[in-house]
Symmetry: C2
Subunit: 474 residues, 2 copies
């Protein structure tokens, strides 16, 4: 284990990086875009663009080849066309550079004889020269704490999440998604064709990484699938492993072969996998992000009883249905809580109980806090959803003060609270509402309080949280 | 049937409206807010506020009671406290006003003896005097084409949808939701406690209404449930009936009793109901809106085979999974289509096939059109999803011209297209992205082209479209 950590660490904390294959003219793609991003994100170490002809690229001294460098970088990012990759690997080995990320695509994922041959050649060079290779056909490593954010549309923030993914696009999307909702990523790796290092290596590494509290894994397929099960079991008992399995359908599985050249495995195999490990299955980007956000912010719930607090009769009825459908319960409250509610909540136009239908909670954080204290004391309640905190009016009326900061302060003043989340209803095509809803979710997220765009998504995330902790114990 | 249409028509096309119980001081609630909304939305008929003391309210002459009016309005909106409602009904009857909407709550839904007694009194007055009553405890009628938009946060647009709902809040939300996505509502009715007129009456009315092509129904419960089945079967064979059943869980059902005082019925009963009718079941606001949008805009698909067109390998893999999970297929393309694609789509970094992974489609509407023409000709394909049309960059780069109008023109130039929808990926907490995504979905929606915020939601909506048309034939 120690060994593995030493071996993979340079991918995330290199002092110097050589970017091999940087165009001096087309700055938007490949090596040039990586280099630009590294500069922009403030990578503190040395950056060495390799280009056979250029003297300088983006204000950095360029070198014709790796052998001309004044030092041996800890990491090479290889962006040359596929046919040139083998010779670059030979050169890496000659200067003692053993950690290599290959961005280039055009290998076995093409299904062509030439692509397959080239990939075999890479594998054999790596074995002979003892090289650690990420990829090819991938976005490589990401680690904002060391300024290593060569990809992604936005600057990264550090946090408790580790991402391992067989799709670069999906990794970027999740990283960005989480960032805006206040959850940082400590390390991410897009694995590509996994010719040398594969998901197992990264998973073993992140399982031991003390910075990483939650692992998000996007997996299409694996040649050594039988090794995954014991590793996933061990890892998921230590920290939540939220797994999005791509290629669960026949059509998806066929596409996976063209994407990363991997065999996705039969669906039955994967349902057995989930039964035998504590891994948390998800089926879309939204579910993946929502679950990671819940696991990053919320403590273990004692049971699956939810207190649902919001406004509107129909909303309360369908909200209960949704919670139950997702595997939660909406239990009756204790007689003590109910007497308090009956004496407090207005009779007409409201419903005292669980769900609680009382519009006053939305504009009055002190009152909301009093109700929450009742719920936190009630033994039937393990989690709380405050559904549609901000009614329509507050979104549109600019005269009114946004109560969100006061609501957040009120929640934070209750450090021993049961897992508590909000939903912000801002869907439906109104751009102004959408922007305000996203901003509000960000405000909550940055305060460590999950806020979801719908009750269905909130309930799904809480149900996964509760199931994970429940299964871990058995 | 003719009779029913005559009986309910005045609720939606009244020439004059009396609003009974309009405060002259608190203008934000009850009758005053209704009156303000009616003025604002440009109701063309006469508006008569009733207030025992005021001479004028909002610039309108006020009257102390209905008997003092110079004429008999076609509709009364009653907003006085519950205990005064019976005497208002007597007064209505005296002046020959038979169509009455009661906003007031505080009846059987409270569960109190007094509330139950008052509701029985209303029922008996209505029977004796032959009154048509909407409510009580409801938002009443909505009909933008006659300027009757007394509720809702936004001005209404007319369109093919009829809404019948046992929740006022949910009705407003759907109306607003659809409006921003280019789908108008012809008539909506929030039914409340349904003391006199109930869901069956409204459904029978809307089934015959030639302006209404799709009916959206939110139903908690019904005392005459056995009448619903034959009516829903007949209606759903004529036009899609998209039904969100509230109270499907025990907790939700108990809440429904407090909300509208109705019995929600056992879940088994409802699954049998859906089997025996052609109604389209949905389980959340998002599903409800997505389905209504699909039914309002898309023609009948010939089968369930989808062509999935987008960018990114992982996205293509998981996109296939999602379509299959929702009940669609992602079939192989014909040899003719494939040869065309193989000759056209770049080999490295793309996948020629179904799904098609080719980023070029996003920036080049002409190229996208050429690909679509191939799909429309392919016998295996019945529907098309263009997934994540606008990549990240286009959202953030203000220099680039938004290709959406050109994409819309291209789609509209193919009037015989197979059902075609877009997804716009703008979730994830970035307020700017959220606003741009919502705006873009609105642009597509206003052109009659559905655009959904995620593939999962697009696939769900298309699967419902296909299942409905498939079942209608059997």
């Amino acid at each position: 284990m120690e060994q593995k950590r030493k071996e993979l660490t340079p991918f995330f904390y290199p002092e110097n990086i050589a970017v091999v294959g940087v165009s001096s003219t087309n700055l938007e793609f490949g090596g040039a875009s990586f280099l630009a991003k590294l500069k922009e994100s403030g990578f503190a170490g040395g950056l060495y663009p390799i280009n056979p002809k250029a003297k300088e690229i983006m204000g950095l001294k360029a070198f014709p080849d790796l052998s001309s460098l004044p030092l041996t970088p800890e990491l090479a990012m290889v962006c040359v066309p596929a046919r040139h990759v083998p010779s670059v690997l030979d050169e890496c080995s000659r200067i003692g550079l053993r950690h290599i990320h290959i961005l280039t695509s055009g290998f076995k994922e093409t299904g062509t004889a030439e692509g397959i041959r080239l990939e075999k050649e890479i594998a054999s060079i790596a074995e002979e020269k003892n090289l650690f290779i990420m990829g090819p056909n991938c976005m490589g490593p990401y680690c904002p704490s060391s300024g290593l954010t060569a990809w992604g549309a936005i600057p990264g923030i550090s946090g408790p999440v580790g991402i391992i993914s067989q799709s670069g696009g999906i990794t970027q999307r999740l990283t960005e998604y989480l960032c805006f909702l206040g959850v940082g990523v400590d390390k991410a790796v897009s694995t590509g064709n996994s010719t040398v290092l594969n998901v197992l290596d990264y998973l073993e590494f992140m399982a031991e990484d003390p910075n990483i509290k939650v692992i998000a894994l996007y997996l299409e397929g694996l040649s050594e699938c039988h090794h995954l099960l014991p590793l996933a079991r061990k890892t998921s008992l230590k920290k939540p492993l939220v797994l999005w399995k791509g290629g669960s359908s026949e059509a998806g599985s066929a596409t996976a072969a063209s994407h990363t050249g991997s065999m996705a495995g039969k669906p039955e195999l994967w349902s057995s996998f989930f039964r035998q490990t504590c891994s948390v299955p998800v089926e879309s980007m939204d579910e993946w992000a929502d679950s990671v956000i819940a696991f990053s912010n919320l403590s273990e719930p004692r049971g699956n009883g939810v207190f649902l607090l919001g406004g509107g009769g129909g909303n309360s009825v369908t909200g209960s249905d949704t919670c139950v459908r997702e595997g939660l319960t909406v239990p009756s409250l204790s007689e003590k809580t109910m007497s308090w509610l009956r004496a407090t909540v207005p009779q007409a136009g409201s419903i005292a109980g669980n769900p609680l239908d009382d519009w006053r909670v939305f504009g009055d954080p002190v009152y909301l806090g009093q109700i929450l204290d009742q719920a936190y004391r009630d033994p039937a309640i393990s989690m709380v959803i405050i559904d549609r905190l901000i009614p329509r009016k507050a979104f549109h009326s600019f005269d009114e003060t946004d109560p969100t900061p006061r609501v957040i302060d009120m929640i934070k003043s209750r450090p021993n609270r049961k897992p508590t989340v909000f939903t912000v209803d801002s869907e439906g095509g109104d751009p102004e509402l959408a922007a305000k809803g996203a901003k509000m979710r960000g405000q909550f997220g940055n305060a460590g309080i999950p806020a979801f765009p719908s009750l269905q998504r909130a309930a799904k995330a809480l149900a996964r949280l509760q199931r994970y902790h429940g299964r871990k114990k058995t």
